[in-house]
Symmetry: C2
Subunit: 328 residues, 2 copies
């Protein structure tokens, strides 16, 4: 089968089409004929460093497609249309997926749309509800509102918690889009001090939950923006990892809960539980068009280099999708 | 009535016996004839700074005594023996307590023993279970094992979670006592690197929950000691507040949940809910002598200066109690 591999750690030019044998099905797994896969930042990091967590030498952690064959123990029939997280090997014509992670694709969604769901919606769900413990009507600050996780988080916070949603992004185009998804207050971080805007929009009260993809460079402003007893979820370090100094008394006096997380390296068991919880609450809302996958652009498999470059230049609003070849 | 007040912010010598009118009972409150109160570090900070959160100019946040009078809405009869947290004013012959925070004193406990329960057991319960989410058989690292909260936490972790309990303290006397309460592994932080001992005792796995009273000076060793997905509860800064050169990637890669907390400044509602949850699970264990209040020493009200000095010199194992005058 055709797959995308990394020639050697480096830039997008290292991505190339290769041939690999079809993966072998193990107990509890599905073999999936992949119709679409999505690009994630973790793929870029793997491409640059090769220091990832892949069983395969093929990138890609989420797919949508058709079940080709399934273990007897899975309860899922060949021909079923599924989407979900895989443990690497997603940029390929065939991929294996633990069956307890497969979600049935709602009838109203294409494969490209379905491939845009698992990673960002599961991450947004995990950070907002499992870690952020977002309650009805609470205030949430979602950074990088135009990103894949950002666009998912805005929709989930709107639909599942009727939250007061504040979001940051770097262009008016992205901010307008965030508003169309349900954000109440949008902040251009290039033109405004987001902490001042958050406090102004919340009677100086601040946000109960912050989704922080940025890390070090936003530390002070996030601390200013968080409520007493707020949950501050660190899920990315786009603004650096190095903090020169912290005064723990500031964290104590606000009783901050600072939770660092990543989804991809977590256990199969965790992913299965998260998938089940998410599917039960969110899939019906996709069927009703209350939640929607946000696709930035679809690239054919052969143009994977351009797909990576687009994400690296932060041009995208929503997900970048790879469409697998239809030739076989 | 006689009370203890602070002449001016400063050392223990500023504590003095004074006269104040009995506090007035408001709706939902109990007026308590105080038999015993306990000393807490927050009292010492208030004495030093007067920057506290007291409605009264009288120190003290927990008492045990007899209900003298009660609002109709409380459902508690005069004559009932109760213990619990008060919003200041505990070092006094009479104190008011929100009724939803009063716990009935088990028959097998004296007033001095009862006064040794609320603050440290509620704090230990909150940090282990509400914030630390300690599950059955998990590993917990309890610093300052000989302190009031430490001795309570060791017992609760043993009785309610059958946890693998590691504890640090600065003397073999304290460590032996921690063992008698149920600690599995004891570490003298003055003689051993506690992180190495924690890793050695856990197959290099580390602790799922850390109770950290120390802050900055233990940061590196606590980070070394914590498991992936561990909950690190910051409840004191005895080792300083100022941290330099933090690498957020280290917190991310272990998916650390770092939660800062304090009990005393929390809302009445929070304290009522915590009290109800704790009382339901833990009071029967006090009746069965499976949990016991740990008293270091009982001082008469008039010797409050010595009581404070004893805590400030870290001589105590368990709680320091003030016994109120029996004369009226």
């Amino acid at each position: 089968m055709r797959v995308i591999t990394v020639k050697q750690p480096g830039g997008a030019e290292q991505l190339q089409l290769s041939e690999r044998p079809k993966p072998e099905l193990k107990s509890g797994e599905l073999l999936i004929k992949v119709k679409a896969a999505a690009i994630n930042r973790t793929d870029i990091i793997n491409r640059q460093t090769s220091s990832g967590y892949l069983d395969f030498d093929v990138l890609g952690i989420e797919v949508a497609g058709i079940v080709e064959s399934a273990g007897n123990d899975t309860g899922i029939k060949p021909g079923t249309k599924v989407m979900g997280l895989v443990n690497g090997g997603g940029y390929a014509e065939y991929a294996v997926m633990p069956a307890d992670r497969a979600m049935i694709i709602p009838d109203n969604l294409s494969f490209e749309e379905a491939a845009a769901i698992p990673e960002v919606f599961l991450t947004a769900y995990q950070t907002l509800f499992w870690l952020g413990e977002l309650k009805d009507k609470e205030t949430v600050l979602i950074h990088a509102g135009g990103s894949g996780v950002g666009t998912a988080a805005i929709q989930l916070a709107r639909q599942l918690a009727d939250a007061h949603i504040l979001t940051t992004a770097g262009s008016s185009q992205k901010l307008d889009f965030c508003k169309s998804l349900g954000a109440d207050t949008t902040i251009n971080y290039k033109e405004q001090d987001f902490d001042k805007e958050v406090l102004a929009a919340t009677d100086q009260y601040g946000a109960a939950v912050i989704l922080d993809f940025i890390g070090a460079s936003y530390y002070r402003k996030n601390l200013n923006s968080i409520q007493t007893d707020g949950r501050w979820i660190l899920i990315g370090l786009l603004g650096g990892a190095h903090l020169e100094n912290i005064n723990l008394m500031e964290l104590m006096s606000k009783r901050v809960q600072w939770k660092a997380t990543l989804l991809t390296p977590r256990s199969d068991h965790y992913k299965a539980e998260l998938t089940a919880d998410f599917a039960g609450r969110a899939l019906p809302l996709f069927e009703q068009n209350k939640l929607k996958p946000i696709i930035d652009k679809v690239f054919p498999m052969e143009e994977v280099q351009d797909a990576h470059r687009r994400m690296e230049s932060n041009q995208n609003i929503g997900k970048i999708i790879l469409k697998m070849d239809e030739s076989d």
